[in-house]
């Protein structure tokens, strides 16, 4: 009986994995195809070399990384400070602030995108600017900050506040106590908040699409305009490279986690 269910679940798992990876495998396969259609015309690496010579794509990749980097740093600072401040509010006020915090998380991306576009176009008329790099950055910070608050908050509520006072008694000034005690205690939450922000910013298309104006390009927007034209095997090459990068990063993170778990186990 046990063995039988084991086989069924193995087959089921294999089918789901096929479902998840077949589309990606097909893209990678066609990235080596020496022809523009789905008919196999022989092996080539020309789409990869064309990809690297495409200055638009290289620029877009740069913009994506810069936005993700800046947005996650700003969001982390703003969100960590916010979490510390909010934890000192009590009762109804705290509830209201936390609920407002959740608005960007629960409202649909497209609504957030058009509402920010409305704000930026109105402000643009008043202050005479056009949407572009800065508005995209602001929009990305907007949807990242709540995730930082959400990750840091539980750490603060669990923290023993007397450690801070102890640090002061032992001769730290306020800044030292803040840095050495509080930031140290909150660090895991801060780091996961920053990582989530970074990945969300990398992946975003919808909000960038509505707040970018006419000139700003990032990788998602570039992919959008490429896929809209449908036939462009360079996209397959790009997918293959991104997939490779993701696998390397994920394996690296997983190995690090396991290493840390082992260290932790040794200590206890």
């Amino acid at each position: 009986m046990k063995n039988k269910t084991g086989i069924i679940s193995k087959i089921y798992m294999a089918l789901i994995m096929l479902f998840l990876y077949a589309p990606i495998a097909v893209l990678i396969f066609y990235s080596f195809n020496d022809g523009k259609t789905t008919v196999w015309k022989g092996f080539t690496l020309k789409w990869y070399s064309e990809l690297f010579r495409d200055s638009n794509i290289i620029n877009s990749l740069g913009n994506t990384l810069i936005i993700a980097f800046l947005a996650s740093i700003f969001a982390t600072i703003l969100g960590t400070a916010a979490a510390i401040g909010i934890s000192n509010f009590k009762g109804k006020k705290r509830l209201i602030i936390q609920n407002i915090s959740n608005i960007p998380i629960i409202s649909p991306d497209i609504v957030m995108g058009v509402s920010l576009m409305l704000l930026f176009t109105t402000l643009g008329v008043i202050f005479n600017f056009e949407m572009g790099f800065v508005t995209v950055l602001i929009a990305h910070i907007c949807f990242c900050v709540p995730f930082v608050v959400l990750n840091v908050m539980p750490r603060i509520t669990r923290m023993d506040r007397s450690i801070y006072d102890a640090a002061l008694d032992l001769g730290c000034n306020q800044w030292q106590a803040f840095y050495k005690v509080i930031i140290h205690e909150l660090m895991p939450g801060i780091i996961s908040g920053a990582l989530i922000s970074f990945t969300y910013s990398l992946d975003d298309f919808i909000i960038t699409y509505f707040t970018r104006g006419s000139k700003f390009q990032n990788l998602s927007i570039e992919i959008y305009s490429m896929t809209h034209r449908r036939i462009s095997p360079k996209i397959n090459a790009l997918s293959a490279l991104l997939f490779l990068a993701i696998v390397v990063i994920m394996v690296f993170i997983n190995l690090r986690d396991r290493h840390e778990e082992k260290q932790e186990a040794k200590r206890t």
């Binding site: 497209i110 992946d203 996209i235």
Partner: protein, 263 residues
């Protein structure tokens, strides 16, 4: 440390970049181009009732398929060795990190006429079109959001105390009854957050239907995208309806979740 001041920049930020934009959507929805009060935008929004219904239908269908696929899957994962569990979860996350558009584009490649699936089935003597219909759109949605269903259910299931399962077995339950009386009721919170995490984005997303659907597979997100650039007032009215709808849905799900927690 006891000061509230550090949250001031954040509160101002949220006011300017979250609350005010939403208020502006509300304001624009109820005014015409000159800024006078009107309800005309909502009567224009009514033209798109069909699209609303279609979006809801596709979102419901995708959520149901995700739940059917994910629930046994989450259960199977919890039965595995712990180190295997982490690897399987990682395998689920990897495709999710691929750019949203590339994942849809991958399905366009797979399903298109003369694409790999069409060619394979032609060899077997089956001819047909696999793209440009509601089926393809649902498939794309399930592909996009399946991990959002698996992860919360898995998280809740893996936290179920093994002692409870053993107790049920000791008291004479067979494995079906253990599942029905212990595991299923305790996994409800995971199901509810899974449904929320799949339904909300699939009801409001855009482009999936444009890439994979036919001419009558237009979703509400596509309509907002199409008309917002030319008619912000009607666009705002539709966005407002979508937002209110999503909020009502979330409140309902929350309500069910709380009921379960008490029971």
């Amino acid at each position: 440390m006891k000061s509230r001041k550090p949250s001031v920049p954040y509160i101002i930020w949220m006011l300017v970049f979250t609350l005010i934009p939403i208020v502006m959507i509300g304001f624009t929805a109820f005014t015409d181009k000159q800024g006078n009060f009107t309800l005309e935008n909502f009567s224009k929004a009514f033209f798109y009732t069909d699209v609303f219904m279609k979006s809801l239908w596709i979102a419901l269908l995708s959520t149901a398929v995700c739940l059917l696929l994910a629930y046994p899957l989450a259960y199977m994962i919890t039965r595995m060795k712990e180190s295997t569990q982490n690897t399987v979860i990682m395998l689920f996350m990897i495709p999710m990190w691929m750019n949203f558009l590339l994942r849809i584009y991958a399905w366009v490649t797979l399903l298109q006429d003369n694409g790999p699936i069409d060619m394979a089935l032609s060899i077997l003597g089956i001819h047909g079109t696999y793209i440009g219909n509601t089926f393809a759109v649902t498939l794309g949605m399930v592909y996009e959001y399946l991990p959002f269903m698996v992860l919360p259910i898995y998280t809740v299931m893996s936290k179920i105390d093994n002692g409870l399962i053993e107790a049920a077995q000791d008291l004479g339950s067979n494995s079906f009854n253990v599942f029905r009386k212990v595991i299923a009721p305790l996994s409800v919170p995971g199901i509810i957050s899974g449904i929320t995490m799949v339904f909300v984005p699939s009801a409001s997303t855009f482009l999936v239907a444009q890439y994979l659907g036919g001419t009558d597979d237009i979703m509400i997100g596509d309509i907002i995208d199409k008309i917002f650039w030319t008619d912000q007032n009607t666009g705002s009215a539709i966005s407002l309806i979508l937002m209110i709808f999503i909020f009502v849905f979330l409140i309902l799900m929350n309500f069910f979740g709380d009921e379960e927690a008490i029971a």
